[in-house]
């Protein structure tokens, strides 16, 4: 790292469409390496669409397109020579509801990204490392062979995080990772995000503003498909530049 850290993710004039509907309008945004960027805003403001543009999951929806640029490590991920399949190994994703593979065991779930991608490695080592990073190892080390569905909701979500980490991404995208969990499981996930920040660049979409304030270094506020404001989390929450941001973070709407 140089003294002036380069943005790991640089978004330039990004617009996203569902057929003719414009879900994102000219978004410009930088995410620094090993920082947590929280994306907040009311429902339907384009937060999830923004996140899904960062690993090219957006284009999997029929009729979905984008314009503009997304640079990861300075490389345009929408360039013609970029294979979205390979890109998604560098940019991991965790979804709103825990979605472990129901036919696989705990172990197989974590190893699935490696096995399905034909990556030959010592699976056991990688599974243990990933589960430890996801703070789940101690709870599941004696039941690796059990069905992933036998875990609790919070454990399943950490399993999904371990599964994403096992393919060694640089960036981790999280789409409201705790919104389907109870408060204790949510606290564990938040603690985990603060630990993961040491190694990964994290972009997290959240409905919960306290959560954004607790876990993130930077906060971006989206409203009706536009990026209204992006800045240091303390500044966005305590001294926002835009009145719309202030209205939202103080609970006047949304």
């Amino acid at each position: 790292m140089t003294a002036e850290p380069q943005a790991q993710i640089a978004v330039r004039k990004l617009s996203a469409f569902f057929r003719t509907t414009r879900a994102l309008k000219d978004v410009n945004l930088d995410a620094l390496p090993r920082n947590v960027l929280a994306v907040i805003g009311p429902s339907g403001c384009g937060k999830s669409t923004f996140l899904r543009c960062l690993n090219r999951m957006h284009e999997l929806v029929p009729g979905a397109t984008i314009s503009g640029q997304v640079l990861i490590d300075g490389e345009d991920i929408y360039a013609r020579e970029i294979d979205p399949v390979l890109l998604r190994r560098r940019v991991g994703m965790v979804f709103q509801r825990p979605n472990p593979f129901p036919t696989m065991s705990v172990f197989e779930n974590v190893a699935s990204g490696l096995k399905l991608n034909g990556i030959r490695t010592r699976y056991a080592d990688q599974v243990e490392k990933s589960l430890k990073r996801a703070a789940l190892w101690d709870e599941v080390k004696d039941r690796l062979g059990e069905s992933a569905l036998s875990l609790s909701g919070g454990q399943q979500q950490r399993l999904c995080i371990a599964r994403a980490l096992a393919v060694e991404p640089e960036v981790l995208l999280m789409d409201e990772p705790a919104s389907a969990l109870d408060p204790i499981a949510t606290a564990r996930i938040e603690e985990l995000i603060r630990e993961l920040r040491e190694r990964y660049t994290i972009v997290i979409v959240t409905h919960n503003m306290q959560q954004a304030a607790r876990v993130s270094d930077w906060t971006a506020f989206f409203y009706m498909g536009e990026l209204v404001e992006c800045g240091r989390t303390e500044q966005v929450f305590t001294n926002p530049k835009e009145s719309r941001t202030e209205d939202y973070v103080t609970g006047k709407f949304g």
């Binding site: 999951m57 509801r97 399905l116």
Partner: protein, 287 residues
């Protein structure tokens, strides 16, 4: 307030309700009569002829005691096996295509063709197999019978597979894609694997249906008095044996037809029961 007319109307309503309920009950009873009588007739006429040798022995000529339908049972299993070999990959593959890529015009066309094909009478399917396999090979064969049965299996198998695959939550597909798994591998190793329980049920139902077909076998696999596991030779099957025994003028063969029918009925019921059991297990696990 006049309560008299209301109560009169109320009585009329109750009467109509009762009549309709009774009519529905009567309809159910009428529907059950053929089902129960089929089972009763086959069981009462066929049970006497069942013995160990009936399952294992070759048929005997008229007048000679003993003998069985062993070659027919083996032949039916063999024909169904051949049909599965051809029909399962094609049917399941088509279903997977329809579910994953079938939203466009090609998908609609394939779906339409499958629907038409599943409505084609089985004797017509037999003629098609005759033209496709028997005529070029100049002989009746197990292969021709297998092709005919596979043509019957493919459309229903494709539609059921499509439905089962569509039931797999989108979230699982996305989970795999987000791990950088290519689309085709996601379809085969995650989506298909998750839908497997339902597909196995569909396969068993298709097998039990194919095992009971006679018409498409009459001029494809024909019949055989002996054991045969050569794909290019005529082959016995339970259904064609039943047909031949039943239209014969001999009392002894009629009894054998009943017993063979009972064997077939039991096989079909067993496959249905197994598939129901699997389906129920799957539902309970999903809950």
């Amino acid at each position: 307030m006049s309560s008299a007319p209301i109560s009169k109307r109320y009585i009329a309503r109750r009467a109509v309700n009762l009549t309709m309920t009774l009519l529905c009950g009567a309809a159910v009873l009428i529907a059950l009569i053929p089902l129960i009588s089929v089972f009763w007739l086959v069981l009462s006429n066929g049970i006497a002829g069942l013995s160990w040798s009936f399952f294992t022995a070759l048929p005997t000529p008229v007048g000679e005691p003993g003998g069985g339908v062993g070659n027919g049972i083996v032949g039916t299993l063999y024909l169904v096996g051949l049909a599965c070999l051809i029909g399962l990959p094609v049917g399941i593959g088509t279903g997977l295509f329809l579910a994953e890529r079938g939203d466009g015009q090609i998908g609609n066309a394939v779906r339409f063709v499958a629907e038409v094909l599943s409505g084609v009478p089985s004797i017509v399917i037999g003629i098609v197999a005759y033209g496709l396999v028997v005529m070029p090979m100049h002989r009746f064969s197990a292969l021709a019978g297998g092709v005919a049965l596979s043509l019957l299996m493919i459309p229903t198998l494709a539609r059921t597979t499509e439905e089962m695959v569509r039931l797999v939550p989108r979230a699982l597909r996305e989970a795999a894609l987000a791990l950088g798994v290519p689309q085709w591998k996601t379809s085969l190793r995650v989506v298909l694997r998750t839908a497997l329980g339902g597909i196995v049920t569909a396969i068993l139902l298709a097998i039990s249906r194919a095992a009971g077909e006679t018409a498409p076998l009459l001029f494809t696999s024909l019949n055989n008095q002996y054991w045969n596991l050569q794909p290019d030779q005529p082959t016995a099957s339970l259904t064609v044996q039943i047909f031949n025994y039943a239209i014969s003028p001999y009392e002894d063969w009629h009894r054998k037809a009943w017993s063979a029918a009972l064997v077939l009925l039991l096989f079909v019921m067993l496959t249905n029961l197994v598939s129901r059991f699997l389906a129920r297990n799957r539902l309970q696990r999903a809950r």
